[in-house]
Structures are given as structure tokens and as C-alpha cells.
């Protein structure tokens, strides 16, 4: 039974060997994923730049979630088509990868009465830090996501938006050893939230990307995506159909072709991002 446990490691040593600072945080090349029935992801290639907020869009069944799951490791296709800081995803040890890439879930099923602060502190689990340092980071990140006033509330009693922000603080804690260069993946982070909460969560994500993080999320709402994204990846039938800034990707013709729906598009009078209206 003794050899079941292997926990002692030298983080710095491994990190130096794996981390290539000049490489793209996340590079996906020719990635495909096929189940017995169908091809869910079909020859997708892109690479993220540090400090960008990228949104994956597309109709239902376009392969958005599968793509995100391949990157997060929930699905696996065996090859070396996903590279993180230059190294194939599969050769990263779990605990080191967790320090550089975190995933914000759609919702979490936690039913035990942890306080919000304790949930955020769980993010420090894989970090080579002392308890007091984790406590300090917890405090900082809860302030950053505006949940410090909820610190001693029981997590199950929070609202959907409050829970999402608590988890955001948790994944920020998890990425706090990545020197502002972490990768944050989000799977429809706003699906259960009201208008104000949606914008609160997304502007927090944008702040993080502006500090140097790479943020990649799946969204359904074209307008939210157009407002917050630096770059859009539009998927259709498993393929990456369009890749570019919101102003180049979102056009009446593109939306009609990919979603099969007619829209009219205006430019926002002040911020100049496209605003999509159903025609």
C-alpha cells in the first residue's frame, strides 16, 4: 500500500523543465475527436496569445464543449495535438498542470456546508505554498471577485452568481503561482446567471486577461461574446469555421451561414463592438 502514495516532488525543478515562456500558452494543432457515431471535433487548429480573452461560439452540437473538454483533459484522444506552454498536455504532471491551467465549471454540486472562504482556499491545494500564504491569496482573490463580504457564509446558501464568483476566486487562487500567465477555461460561465451577474463575471474575466492571463470560454450569447472577447472562434460541425476579432467575424452573412438565422448588426455607438439583433 505504501507505494500508492507519491506526493513529494520538487516543483521548481519540474517547472523549469516544462515551462517555455516564449511558447504560446495553449496551442491546438490539427485536433480531431471521433466517437463511434460521429466526429465531434474535426481538425481544429489555433493558438492562444497571453493576455487575450477568446470565446468559442457556435450552434448546439458544433463541438464547442467537446473542444473545451479535450483541452481540460476530461476527454482524451491520445495524440500530442494540444500543447501547453510548448509541452504536450499529456506529459504535464497533474499537479503542475493544475498550477497553470484552471477550469471554472458551469455549476458545482457541493452540498456540504463549507464557508465561501474554505471553498476558495481549496484552490491552494496543489500549490507549493504555506497555509498562511494560501490564506493571504484567498483574501486577495475574494476581494478581486467581490465576494469578501460572503467569506463566512455557507456555500450552499449562496445564489448562482455568488457561487460562480466564489469559484472564480478559487481558480484564481489555483493559478496564483503561474506568474499572471495562467490559462483559464470556462464552460458557459453565465448560463445560470441574471443580466447583472453575467456582466460582472465577464468583466472580471476580462480584467484577468488584461493582467496577462489567457482566458478561453464557451458562450452561447453572441452579444456577450462580441462585447467582451478579443477574439472569436466560430465552430460549425466540429470544424473551426471562423477565427478573428468580433468586428471581422460577426457579419450578417457569417451568422446566416453558421446559425441559419437572419440577423441585423449595428455597431455599438460608444464602444464600437458589433451588436446583434434578430431580424
Amino acid at each position: 500500500m505504501l507505494n500508492l502514495f507519491t506526493s513529494s516532488y520538487d516543483t521548481k525543478l519540474n517547472f523549469a523543465a516544462l515551462h517555455t515562456p516564449s511558447a504560446s500558452p495553449l496551442q491546438v494543432s490539427d485536433l480531431s475527436y471521433t466517437t463511434a457515431k460521429q466526429t465531434l471535433v474535426d481538425q481544429v487548429s489555433f493558438s492562444l496569445k497571453a493576455g487575450e480573452l477568446t470565446v468559442i461560439l457556435g450552434p448546439n452540437g458544433a463541438g464547442k464543449s467537446s473542444l473545451l473538454k479535450l483541452i481540460s483533459g476530461e476527454l482524451s484522444q491520445g495524440g500530442h495535438n494540444i500543447r501547453i506552454f510548448g509541452q504536450p498536455r499529456d506529459i504535464w504532471p497533474d499537479h503542475l498542470l493544475a498550477q497553470h491551467m484552471a477550469i471554472l465549471p458551469q455549476s458545482s454540486q457541493l452540498s456540504f456546508a463549507f464557508s465561501a472562504r474554505e471553498v476558495v482556499a481549496l484552490g491552494g491545494l496543489s500549490l507549493p505554498l504555506k497555509q498562511s500564504e494560501v490564506q493571504y491569496l484567498t483574501q486577495e482573490n475574494m476581494a478581486a471577485t467581490d465576494v469578501l463580504h460572503l467569506a463566512d457564509r455557507a456555500y450552499p446558501s449562496l445564489s448562482g452568481g455568488e457561487k460562480q464568483r466564489v469559484h472564480l476566486a478559487r481558480v484564481l487562487t489555483q493559478l496564483s503561482c503561474a506568474n499572471q500567465h495562467g490559462i483559464l477555461l470556462l464552460d458557459e460561465p453565465t448560463s445560470a446567471l441574471d443580466l447583472a451577474q453575467q456582466h460582472k463575471v465577464l468583466s472580471l474575466c476580462r480584467q484577468m486577461s488584461q493582467k496577462g492571463m489567457s482566458v478561453l470560454m464557451v458562450l452561447h450569447d453572441l452579444n456577450l461574446a462580441a462585447q467582451y472577447a478579443d477574439r472569436l472562434l466560430l465552430m460549425q460541425g466540429g470544424k473551426l469555421a471562423l477565427d478573428g476579432s468580433p468586428n471581422t467575424v460577426i457579419s450578417t452573412a457569417n451568422i446566416a451561414q453558421i446559425y441559419g438565422h437572419k440577423v441585423s448588426i449595428k455597431s455599438h455607438p460608444i464602444h464600437h463592438y458589433p451588436v446583434i439583433m434578430s431580424a
Binding site: 502514495f5 497533474d94 491551467m101 457541493l110 452540498s111 456540504f112 456546508a113 471553498v119 491545494l125
Partner: protein
């Protein structure tokens, strides 16, 4: 809802003190009146009437020691299983793990009965606990496969699986009784009375070493188990080897439950009540919950055992009846509380 957390010290110190007082106190309590001075002399091997020295050294002290270890093991296993299933209703007895362990133990008693006469120690310390462990692990794996999916644990399926497995184990136990030869039948009957009354120093050594091993390894995984409460995928994303963790915890719990069942028969509800109580005191953090459950579990079984041998003195009630009388209403209350969420 505000969360109030007591300082660990303000919880652990009083609990440990009460436990110590109870442990010493229950040495003096029993059908045979023994004064404190006599007990003192018996404990430290000083001059005292031989029957008193016998009762203290061979009956009461072993019994207290066994209660402490078994209560602690059952409570810790309950706490860990509830974490593993992410549900506060997962008790080794309720989801059928104890039933599976009991079936394994009974099987070993019947199969190896012919050898019992020549190698009694092999049976009590070897084959019976090992078979109980195997039975317990198979059931835990089965219930886990049945009850959990990507979206979490289905309480209904988990509890129903427990009902089915307990029924199956009960039927198989009956069959074993039917086919057992005389020696095996005697051993089965003795064992299935399920009490802490008849024990040997070898059993106590087994119980305490199990407790030590479990405490060490479960505590080692406490942080990971905390993260696991967020969900399997979330824990994986936090860099935890989820599959290995699950395998380890299932095996450790099955070992704990298997050994306690093989030593004392089925004692239910300790693993349900104690972790719940522990969470009220220190919260769901397993770093504190696991050791606190060990202390409280020992205390509960000690109290239950003291009651079981004083209520109808000089006769004795099986201790499992006392814990069930306390635990079953508690379980129903928990069900009421959870009704909206199932």
C-alpha cells in the same frame, strides 16, 4: 446562513477529556461491584482478590479498548464514505458495505471451520477479516458504480442498492447457516451476536493497528477528499489523481468496516451519527473531521456499550441494538431534512 467555526482546540480538548473520563469510568462500572481502590490495584498488578483482577484485566479493560478502536474505525469510515459519495447519508451499514463484509466473514467461518480447531488464531486474525474486507470492497465498488455518474451521486440508487445488497447478504447468511456443520454453526452464532464482550488481546491488537493505519492514510488524503467534495471533474482539474484516490479510499474503508465486522459483528449507525455531529462542530474539513470522528466514535460506542451492560444487568444487550435505537431515528430525521434534495 453564516458559518460559525470553533477553534479546533476548543472542540478537541473537551472531547478528549470526556473520552478519557468515560474510558476510565467504564472500567469501574459493571455487574460486579469493584471499588476504585480495588480496580487501581488490579490495573497495576498489585495485591488484590484474584477474581477482581481477572474481571478487570481480562474482561473490562479489553472491552473498553476494543470499543474505543471499533467506534473510531466505524466513525472515520462513515466520514470518508460520505465524502466519497458526496452525500451525508452514506453510512457503511445503510449502503450495504457491512452486509457484504458480514457475508464474507460468514463465508470464511463456514469454509475454514474444519481448520478452526487446530488454528484458531488463523481464523480470527487471518481468513475472517480478509474475507470480510473482500466482501466489503466488492459491495462498495458495486454501489459506487451504480450510484454515481458524471452528475454526482444519486441518493435514491445508493440507498436502494444498499437495501438490495443487505437483503442478498441476509439470504446468503441464512443459506450458510443451513449448510454449516456443527463447529461452523457454533462459531457463526457466536460471531453474529455481534458484541464487544468476547475478545482477546490478539483482536485488540488487530483493531488498534487497523485504527492506526486508517488514521494515518485517511489523514494523508484529507485535503484531496475536501477537493473531491466539489465534484470529480473539479478535483481532477485541481491536479488530483481522482481514480487512484477513489480506489484508495474505497479499499481503506472496506478494510476498516471489514475488520470491525469480523471482530464485533454488525454495529450500525456509528458511521452516520458521528460524522454529522463532527461537521456541526468543526465543519466539513476532513483534516479536522476525521480525527474528531475517531474520538467521538470511540466515545459513542463506549457509552453504548456501558448502557448495554448496565441496563439489564447482570444480563447484557447486544451493543448494536443500542446504536440502532439511537441511530435509526437520527437517520429518519436526516431523511426529512434531505427530502427536498433527492
Amino acid at each position: 446562513m453564516q458559518v460559525v467555526r470553533y477553534q479546533p482546540r476548543t472542540v478537541f480538548v473537551p472531547v478528549a477529556l470526556v473520552l478519557a473520563v468515560m474510558a476510565v469510568g467504564s472500567i469501574f462500572i459493571g455487574p460486579m461491584p469493584i471499588s476504585i481502590e480495588q480496580a487501581w490495584r488490579a490495573i497495576f498488578n498489585q495485591e488484590v482478590a484474584p477474581h477482581i483482577s481477572l474481571v478487570i484485566q481480562q474482561v473490562r479493560i479489553p472491552r473498553v479498548l476494543l470499543c474505543l478502536a471499533i467506534g473510531a474505525i466505524l466513525a472515520m469510515c462513515g466520514a470518508v464514505m460520505q465524502g466519497l459519495f458526496r452525500n451525508p447519508l452514506a453510512d457503511p451499514g445503510i449502503i450495504g458495505v457491512s452486509g457484504g463484509a458480514a457475508l464474507g466473514a460468514a463465508l470464511a467461518i463456514v469454509v475454514f471451520a474444519p481448520m478452526a480447531e487446530f488454528y484458531p488464531l488463523l481464523l480470527t486474525l487471518g481468513t475472517v477479516p480478509i474475507f470480510a474486507f473482500i466482501g466489503g470492497s466488492l459491495v462498495t465498488l458495486l454501489v459506487y458504480q451504480l450510484g454515481t455518474s458524471q452528475h454526482g451521486t444519486s441518493v435514491a440508487i445508493m440507498l436502494l442498492a444498499g437495501v438490495a445488497i443487505s437483503a442478498l447478504a441476509g439470504a446468503a447468511l441464512g443459506l450458510l447457516n443451513f449448510y454449516a456443520d456443527d463447529q461452523a454453526l457454533r462459531d457463526l452464532a457466536l460471531w453474529s451476536m455481534g458484541s464487544v464482550a468476547h475478545t482477546t488481546w490478539a483482536n485488540i491488537a488487530l483493531a488498534w493497528s487497523t485504527l492506526a493505519v486508517l488514521l494515518y492514510y485517511l489523514q494523508h488524503d484529507a485535503n484531496k477528499l475536501n477537493a473531491f467534495l466539489l465534484g470529480e471533474a473539479e478535483a481532477r482539474h485541481m491536479g488530483i489523481g481522482v481514480e487512484a484516490l477513489k480506489r484508495r479510499l474505497i479499499l481503506l474503508c472496506a478494510a476498516g468496516v471489514g475488520i470491525s465486522v469480523s471482530l464485533c459483528g454488525m454495529i450500525g449507525f456509528v458511521g452516520l451519527i458521528i460524522p454529522h455531529l463532527g461537521r456541526l462542530l468543526v465543519g466539513p474539513n476532513h483534516n479536522l473531521l476525521i480525527p474528531l470522528s475517531a474520538l467521538l466514535g470511540g466515545l459513542l460506542l463506549l457509552i453504548a456499550d456501558t448502557l448495554s451492560r448496565t441496563l439489564v444487568s447482570p444480563a447484557e444487550l447486544p451493543v448494536g441494538i443500542i446504536t440502532a435505537l439511537a441511530g435509526a431515528p437520527f437517520f429518519i430525521a436526516l431523511l426529512f431534512q434531505q427530502r427536498g434534495r433527492m
